[in-house]
């Protein structure tokens, strides 16, 4: 007998010996028999956001770009924290608030000048500082160009 015939004969013998016909899966019977397990599976559908968030984090962590981005974010956060803790840079000498007489109106209403005025004289001091800035500007025409306004604010007018 040829090899091919032998193989065919063996296949037939095996089919008979195994004697299998695929049983149909009875989904309803299975769901009833394993109701607890099936409910566990269905119960996961109520927390989709948690699952998808977890999956997203896992996916990001798997990718090299994601890892790099996370490392960069961590370094940036650490840098900000360190600067916040130790980075109160010393004020160079001579860079403090100038005497009011030498200040331009813009410098007079800057946050540094205003807060210095508030610290020294409270609301009254703050009010005076604003009045002095307005005095320095002097009477202004009603129609003023933007260029003139900037010149005035810089004290170069």
């Amino acid at each position: 007998m040829s090899e091919r015939k032998d193989e065919k004969w063996l296949d037939q013998q095996l089919q008979r010996a195994v004697n299998g016909t695929t049983p149909a899966f009875d989904a309803q019977a299975w769901k009833q028999k394993y109701a607890g397990e099936f409910q566990t599976l269905l119960g996961r559908s109520v927390q989709p956001s948690r699952l998808s968030a977890g999956r997203t984090v896992r996916r990001v962590l798997r990718g090299s770009i994601g890892k790099f981005a996370i490392a960069a974010a961590l370094l940036a956060t650490a840098g900000v924290l360190l600067v916040g803790r130790f980075g109160s840079t010393p004020v160079p000498p001579g860079s403090g608030p100038q005497p009011a007489a030498q200040q331009s109106p813009a410098q007079m209403v800057s946050m540094i000048s205003l807060s210095a005025a508030f610290r020294s004289g409270g609301m009254e001091g703050l009010d005076k500082q604003c009045d002095r800035a307005l005095e320095r500007l002097g009477p202004r025409p009603t129609n003023v160009s933007m260029q003139e306004l900037f010149k005035d604010l810089d004290g170069k007018g």
């Binding site: 032998d6 063996l10 008979r16 010996a17 299975w30 397990e37 599976l41 998808s52």
Partner: protein, 187 residues
């Protein structure tokens, strides 16, 4: 009509998509996976435990465990091999409970069917002497004529590897059959 459309849509989806949907709690996707893998799981169970009804029990218990532990499966494309491993364990547990040595642990006596002829008996005897892995691939192939593609999805190995495994199993069977008087079998 709409229901028919839904079924055909479900049938066309790849296993990995169904696995991901089932892991998110989609019962219909899980049921479709059970339909697709039931025959293969019964075949795997039957290769271990020589009782068809117990083989079906093993397959159904494997699905129940899979329903609970599906989120632990990291790769959706490994669903088949993962499910097959659960099914093997379930079948071995059932065989132990029945005090029947699982196939592959030691040579077993062939199953006696009332109307089986002498040649069928000898072929079954030969089958029972095969190593578990070889017997499993024979069952998957001949239980209901599963395609190489489906066997590959279940075992997680290539179609070439399945072909090699089948050829080696058949050669061993042929050797045994020749020793048992089937002179015409020459593979």
């Amino acid at each position: 009509m709409a229901l028919k459309g839904l079924f055909s849509m479900m049938e066309s989806r790849p296993d990995s998509v169904l696995v991901e949907q089932a892991a998110r709690g989609d019962g219909e996707s899980f049921t479709e996976l059970c339909r697709r893998y039931y025959g293969a799981m019964v075949a795997i169970g039957h290769a271990i435990i020589r009782d068809r009804h117990l083989a079906e029990d093993a397959a159904q218990q494997a699905f129940a465990k899979a329903a609970v532990h599906l989120p632990k499966l990291r790769r959706a494309d490994q669903f088949g091999p993962w499910l097959a491993a659960i099914c093997r364990n379930e079948a071995k547990d059932l065989a132990r409970a029945r005090r029947e040595p699982p196939v592959g642990d030691e040579p077993a006596v062939a199953e006696d069917l009332p109307d089986s002829g002498e040649s069928d008996k000898i072929v079954r005897e030969a089958l029972s002497r095969l190593p578990a892995e070889a017997k499993e691939v024979i069952y998957l192939r001949f239980y209901d004529g599963l395609s190489y593609d489906r066997i590959s999805a279940v075992l997680g190995i290539s179609e070439q590897a399945i072909n090699g495994r089948l050829r080696r199993a058949k050669k061993r069977l042929a050797q045994y059959l020749r020793r048992s008087g089937f002179d015409e079998v020459d593979l």
